[in-house]
């Protein structure tokens, strides 16, 4: 073990000193030593002693790497590729503990049961008419249970990063083995996936990446001949798309050749020649999923592992996933793995139809509108229905019809809402439901196969009320209804519009609606609000003719005529312009809405910038610009860094007693002649002309003060010591020049 680590250390040391170049062979050799070390450590841990064995092969690889700096694949071949388990173990041991999944499941079940019991208990409490203190403490319990439920749900989720992290190493080792140059990139690591799903995708994903390097990417000379860069590129990305998590593995290799696949399939007796003729191009590609099929002309060390694409496909289908091929012959292959998010936690929109609740994944919802809204027009066209929303047309699906139920006549027609759904790229439709309920974080579990077979549902979930709710499969609904939801050829270019919409949403300012202390509804742009603060009334006081608030250790001006009396606490909006803060007292926050485009501006500049209509109600818009202008004047703007001012001499204490307070209020820090601030040079220094000669540092800008009103001569640049304006101006100029 010592020998191993020393060998690696020596090699790296030489690299550091610049005695040898850090080439690929060296890195391979060092990584091999690390692998050997970790296997030794594992052996030590389990057997209590170091296993006998010769490590000279790995150390030798290091020497060989030294001998032949031009890395030939041959030198790397002596290094076995590490098993995936080892790589994973290394990466996962960081700052986490291992918990068996069944334990997590039982915690999850336990918490959900607590929630159900709580709801039952809450109902009993309400019925028994318990007194307020009991209910208050029960509510506290409820809140902590809700918090716990959320954390437990989060516990099962894992960033897909974990799945991607061993890949760079695998790619690197394999590329070395095959003598290929491969650049690896990954994105979307922040997508979260249920741990169990992750386990099921891991092997297929690694296998696909292996295949890409082994079969997909051409040898160097072929790449050059095809006019491609020598370095191939493999990209792995993940994203959430509606009901599903999509993982894409893209390479820029040779892609699949349908004809070669067919020839291979015939020779491997997977299909007969006559069957092959009848295959569509797509079916030809999908031959690689047939059992017993292997595209490699010769069996290599990697493809000889006995896992074929058929196993990959079977593994994914077992968890309800799909494998899709996007082939560009000669230019690369993209393999898309789609995994349902069943077993995952999603944000779901609860809707009502036919007298019961259903959940819709929030991710595929584009917009929600009331059917009675002015911007919605519904046309009956040839028995079907069509919705036009702001000039864009969508096929309309009534959820009750899609489910084969009757529309509940007792529902209020005014509540009917239209949900614009985009189940995938290039498709969208409008779903009409009886009412929108709310949205919740939902734990999705697969429904029984007989229910999944309807194609309408993506799973079941159990919200807080303990009544199971079905999650709708927004894509399946379309298929069942036989509606063509393709956006191509619709009245407007939906993609462009969607993009514009996103851009508009980004630009659209949000408005914080609040009720001010006078009981009027007003609004202010959300972006100027730093936060909403609730302070005890005692924290507000009047000083120098204006109301101030003490929040923590700071004092802020408050926009109020007088400190409010007769209440315990005051809510304050903290307006922030990047430098200073102004507090605006309010009664309560009402809502956050999108700021409408149409603003009726006020006649004269003042507190109210204008009036907008929010939900039919006129709302006065506060003008933060005007407000800040009112209060900004008297304030010294807190500078990023307060300049340091040194009083070079102060024989009679005048500078310390008279001058220093003025300087401090102007935003300077003041030190005496013999004081030193650690690590900082003074920005400016002051001295008195008619005092005794003071020790003045030559390299610091100097302002000289005189006691007499008149200057002693035309070239006297000193300043009369009570000329506040001139003094501050001189300081400012010199600090700025420094």
């Amino acid at each position: 073990m010592t020998a191993l680590s020393h060998a690696a250390e020596d090699a790296l040391d030489q690299v550091r000193r610049g005695n040898r170049p850090a080439n690929a062979a060296l890195v391979t050799a060092v990584l091999a030593i690390i692998d050997r070390l970790s296997s030794l450590c594992a052996a030590l841990g389990s057997m209590g002693q170091e296993p006998q064995g010769d490590d000279s092969d790995v150390i030798g690889a290091l020497a060989m790497a030294d001998d032949r700096p031009a890395a030939e694949p041959a030198s790397a071949e002596s290094v076995p590729a590490p098993a995936d388990e080892e790589v994973n173990a290394e990466l996962q041991s960081w700052r986490s503990i291992r918990v068996p999944l069944p334990l997590l499941d039982s915690v999850m079940t336990g918490v959900t049961d607590i929630v159900l019991a709580r709801n039952e208990f809450a109902r009993l409490l309400r019925e028994s008419g318990a007194d307020a203190s009991v209910i208050a403490s029960f509510d506290r319990l409820s809140d902590s249970i809700a918090g716990m439920r959320q954390s437990v749900s989060q516990m099962r989720m894992q960033r897909i990063d974990k799945l991607f992290s061993p890949l760079p190493r695998i790619v690197r080792d394999l590329a070395q083995d095959f003598g290929k140059k491969v650049r690896f990139s990954s994105s979307g690591g922040e997508v979260e996936l249920d741990r169990e799903m992750m386990e099921n995708i891991r092997d297929p994903l690694i296998h696909i990446v292996r295949n890409a390097i082994d079969h997909g990417i051409e040898p160097l000379d072929e790449r050059v001949a095809a006019g491609k860069g020598v370095t191939a590129h493999i990209d792995v990305s993940a994203r959430q798309s509606g009901n599903q998590i999509e993982i894409m593995v893209r390479d820029d290799g040779r892609g699949l050749s349908p004809e070669a696949l067919v020839a291979k399939a015939i020779s491997a007796r997977v299909v007969t020649a006559s069957e092959a003729k009848a295959l569509t191009p797509r079916e030809k590609l999908e031959l690689i999923f047939r059992p017993g099929f292997s595209t490699a002309a010769k069996v290599t060390a990697v493809s000889g592992r006995g896992v074929g694409m058929d196993i990959v496909k079977a593994n994914l289908e077992k968890i309800g996933g799909v494998v899709e091929l996007r082939n560009e012959e000669g230019r690369g292959l993209t393999i898309v793995l789609r995994v349902p998010m069943t077993l995952t936690i999603i944000s779901g929109l609860m809707v009502r139809a036919a007298g019961q609740y259903f959940a819709i994944p929030r991710g595929s919802v584009r917009e929600i509108l009331l059917e009675m809204s002015d911007s919605v027009r519904i046309d009956r066209v040839g028995g079907g229905e069509l919705v036009t929303v702001r000039g864009e047309q969508f096929p309309l699906l009534r959820l009750e019809h899609a489910l084969g139920s009757a529309i509940d006549a007792s529902e209020d027609q005014d509540d009917r809402a239209i949900i614009l759904i985009r189940p995938g790229q290039g498709h969208s439709y409008a779903l009409s439901v009886a009412a929108i309920h709310d949205h919740e974080e939902l734990v999705i579990k697969p429904a029984a196969p007989i229910i999944m077979a309807t194609g309408l549902y993506a799973g079941t979930t159990l919200p807080d009320n303990g009544r199971p709710v079905l999650l709708l499969d927004v894509q399946g609904l379309l298929a069942a209804a036989g509606v063509d939801a393709s956006e191509a050829g619709r009245s407007h270019d939906a993609d462009a519009e969607a993009e514009a919409e996103v851009a508009a949403a980004r630009d659209a300012a949000q408005l914080l609606l609040f009720c001010d202390v006078g009981g009027r509804m007003r609004g202010v742009r959300l972006s100027v609000i730093e936060r909403v603060e609730e302070v005890p009334a005692a924290a507000l006081f009047e000083s120098a003719g204006r109301v101030q608030a003490k929040i923590g250790t700071d004092i802020f001006p408050v926009h109020a005529a007088a400190a409010p009396g007769g209440r315990d606490a005051v809510k304050l909006l903290r307006l922030h312009d990047g430098r200073s803060v102004l507090c605006y007292p309010i009664e309560a926050v009402i809502d956050i809405v999108r700021l409408p485009d149409a603003v009726q501006p006020a006649q004269a500049p003042g507190l109210i910038a204008g009036v907008v209509l929010i939900g039919g109600q006129p709302v006065e818009l506060i003008d933060p610009f005007w407000l800040m202008a009112q209060y900004g004047a008297g304030q010294t703007a807190p500078l990023r860094r307060q300049p340091l001012c040194r009083l070079a001499d102060d024989p009679d204490g005048w500078a310390g007693n008279f001058l220093a307070p003025i300087l401090r209020s102007a935003g300077y820090r003041v030190i005496g002649g013999d004081e030193v601030v650690e690590g900082e040079r003074p920005d400016v220094q002051l001295c008195l002309v008619d005092g005794p000669a003071a020790p003045v540092a030559a390299d610091i800008p100097l302002v000289r003060l005189r006691a007499s009103v008149a200057a002693s001569g035309p070239d006297d640049d000193s300043i009369y010591r009570y000329d506040r304006g001139a003094l501050l101006e001189a300081l400012r100029v010199r600090v700025a020049g420094a």
């Binding site: 959900t112 159900l116 036919a354 139920s405 007989i450 159990l462 303990g466 199971p468 079905l470």
Partner: protein, 145 residues
């Protein structure tokens, strides 16, 4: 001994014996949640100990008209292929050891029963059908219609 333990219940208007090892538990249900567009023998969903179970109406499987679920009705909970199901029972009679051996089904049965019955068993002077709960669940949709 477990092989000899049977649950005697009345499902789809018929007394049957169910092998106890196939059964998870017997519980009562409240109002189940309807599953629109599901096969007719699916009577709904209900939650039990934070699991969601699919309620099966044996009447439909046998070929009888569906019956409404009464609140508090007892159901037989079974696990089939890692999914939880519950069979609506008209009545739960007894859990008992039956020493008599299971015998081949003799005589003519209604097609519905023929599909779900595994064997027959003699108990307290009556012949009971031994049914496998999983046959109620994995009913092909076409046959149920």
């Amino acid at each position: 001994m477990m092989e000899k333990l049977y649950l005697i219940a009345r499902i789809a208007d018929t007394r049957v014996a169910l092998r106890s090892r196939a059964i998870n538990s017997v519980v009562t249900v409240g109002t189940p949640v309807n599953v629109p567009a599901a096969p007719p023998h699916v009577a709904g969903l209900f939650a039990l100990r934070s699991r969601v179970f699919t309620l099966i109406d044996p009447h439909v499987v046998i070929g009888l008209p569906a019956v409404a679920v009464a609140p508090g009705q007892r159901v037989i909970v079974v696990d089939v292929a890692d999914h939880g199901y519950a069979l609506l029972a008209d009545a739960i009679e007894d859990v008992c050891f039956i020493e008599a051996p299971e015998t081949r089904v003799t005589g003519w049965l209604l097609p519905g029963w023929a599909r779900v019955a595994d064997a027959m068993i003699e108990h307290e002077g009556a012949s009971l059908l031994v049914v496998d709960p999983s046959h109620f669940v994995t009913l092909p949709v076409a046959k149920a219609a």
